[in-house]
């Protein structure tokens, strides 16, 4: 055996020492981030954790870093869980970070701001995506702790307003590490079940830390993705959680959530009664009106003295008949007059009238002769006089030019 070690052997020895230490395998450490670097290619995070006097280099591999719910920044105080081991190639010991979370109120607020912005960009808080609550919910899903005051408040108020409502509870932790996953699962389970009209998710008041599950991305996403309307009821009047922002309706307290969830039975019942009464009143009035109309109709003479009505009609018929006769007579007289006028017109135009004055008509077989041009000496012509015919032969012809022709 050599009396010396190689560098590799030394580093390996130290690594074995550190790895063998139970405490160094898994512990929580608080520190401030500096020299933060994200290697784009590998996705690993490299940074230094420090306090006032000391520092240690740290690495968070991509597989762990992917689960981070916030963006680490220089100067941020964080709590990390991890182990210490040796990076043999450089003979350096460093912190291998498994989990990291913001430390203290400042860190948490910063984390929340970042998360809020991120979820806002995903549209989880969009007002236009909010679903309306059903007006008459009868089955209410509740995601909360079965041991909490919130559930008792919700049940009490639901019963007060509407004893008929059914409640379907999914029990979940509402604080601590398990809470986000359990709350989200409860919302999903109720959606899977489907037979509730809406979901109330919440808890009674608590410290800022107690309310943190309602700021987790997991819960916010489950609320956003819920097909059923969600009322958030994180008992905290002042601050809004991210769950409140994602919910369709935010109630300040579980009590208020129950009030929003169901209609007041008393009120509904009154509404129903009023409608019924109105219905009956309208119908009574209508029937009264109709019977008045009927009464008026029955008072008409037609129903009182039918014979008189018939006589009136007979008289009217008679009048009509007389009018009709008169009209017919007028028509006949008019026609006679028109005939006489036509006959006298005809007489005035008759050729016989002209012949009476000594005129005659000369014609041959072709027709009436109006010019000497159409006649040759020797032609036979007929001459029609008022009282007979003459057959003649032309001896000679002579054309006369008349001044007016």
């Amino acid at each position: 055996m050599n009396p010396y070690l190689t560098v590799s052997e030394l580093n390996q020895y130290i690594a074995d020492l550190l790895d063998g230490d139970i405490f160094l395998r898994d512990f929580w450490l608080k520190g401030e981030i500096s020299g933060f670097k994200l290697y784009q290619q590998s996705g690993h995070l490299y940074f230094t954790l420090k306090d006032a006097d000391s520092s240690i280099s740290a690495v968070m591999f991509r597989s762990r870093a992917r689960r981070l719910e916030f963006k680490p920044e220089n100067g941020m105080e964080v709590l990390v869980r991890g182990s210490v081991s040796v990076f043999a190639p450089q003979g350096r010991y460093q912190l291998y970070v498994e989990e990291m979370e913001p430390y203290g109120v400042g860190g948490v607020y910063l984390f929340l701001e970042q998360l809020k912005e991120k979820l806002q960009q995903k549209g989880y808080f969009d007002v236009e995506k909010k679903k309306p609550l059903p007006a008459y919910a009868r089955r209410i899903g509740v995601v909360t702790s079965q041991d909490g005051a919130a559930l008792r408040d919700i049940l009490r108020v639901l019963r007060q307003r509407h004893r008929g409502v059914d409640v379907v509870l999914v029990h979940s932790a509402v604080q601590g590490a398990e809470a986000p996953e359990q709350i989200a699962r409860g919302i999903k389970l109720l959606n899977l079940y489907g037979q509730v009209d809406l979901i109330i998710v919440g808890r009674g008041g608590g410290s800022f830390e107690d309310l943190m599950p309602f700021n987790s991305e997991e819960v916010v996403r489950a609320i956003y993705e819920s097909e059923l309307p969600v009322i958030s009821a994180v008992g905290h009047e002042v601050d809004w959680t991210l769950a409140d922002l994602a919910a369709d309706v935010r109630a300040a307290t579980p009590t208020q959530a129950a009030q929003l969830a169901v209609a007041d039975l008393e009120h509904l019942s009154q509404e129903c009664n009023q409608l019924q009464q109105r219905l009956i009143r309208i119908m009574q009035r209508r029937l009264q009106q109709e019977s008045e109309i009927l009464d008026r109709l029955m008072m008409n003479r037609a129903w009182q003295k039918p014979r008189q009505m018939v006589q009136q009609y007979q008289q009217y018929c008679q009048e009509l008949r007389v009018q009709m006769q008169k009209a017919m007579e007028n028509r006949v007289n008019q026609s006679r007059q028109r005939l006489a006028m036509a006959v006298s017109g005809l007489e005035r135009l008759s050729p016989l009238k002209v012949m009476q004055r000594g005129y005659a008509v000369v014609h041959n077989q072709a027709g009436i002769i109006k010019s000497v041009e159409n006649v040759q000496p020797g032609d036979c012509l007929s001459i029609t006089l008022l009282d007979g015919e003459l057959c003649t032969q032309v001896k000679q012809k002579e054309k006369v030019i008349r001044w007016n022709l």
């Binding site: 009868r138 004893r163 409640v167 379907v168 019942s269 129903c272 409608l275 219905l279 119908m283």
Partner: protein, 77 residues
Amino acid sequence: MEPVKFEQALKRLEELVSQLEDGELELEEALRLFEEGVRLSRYCQQELKAADGKVQKLVQTLEGDLELVDCEELLEG
């Protein structure tokens, strides 16, 4: 009762009342609507008198089935 059914019934009842109030309807039609309205209002009243609701717990079995478990004792709180 399904809430949708109740909601629809109440809405229809409101419609009927305002239609009848308009008074433009033939008497026969009005009587028909009136009968429907009376039926609906009885239905609504009946539904509102429904028995006390249940409190149940929804759990998922190891096989992944959903199961409802009665737990009225939670009301005592």
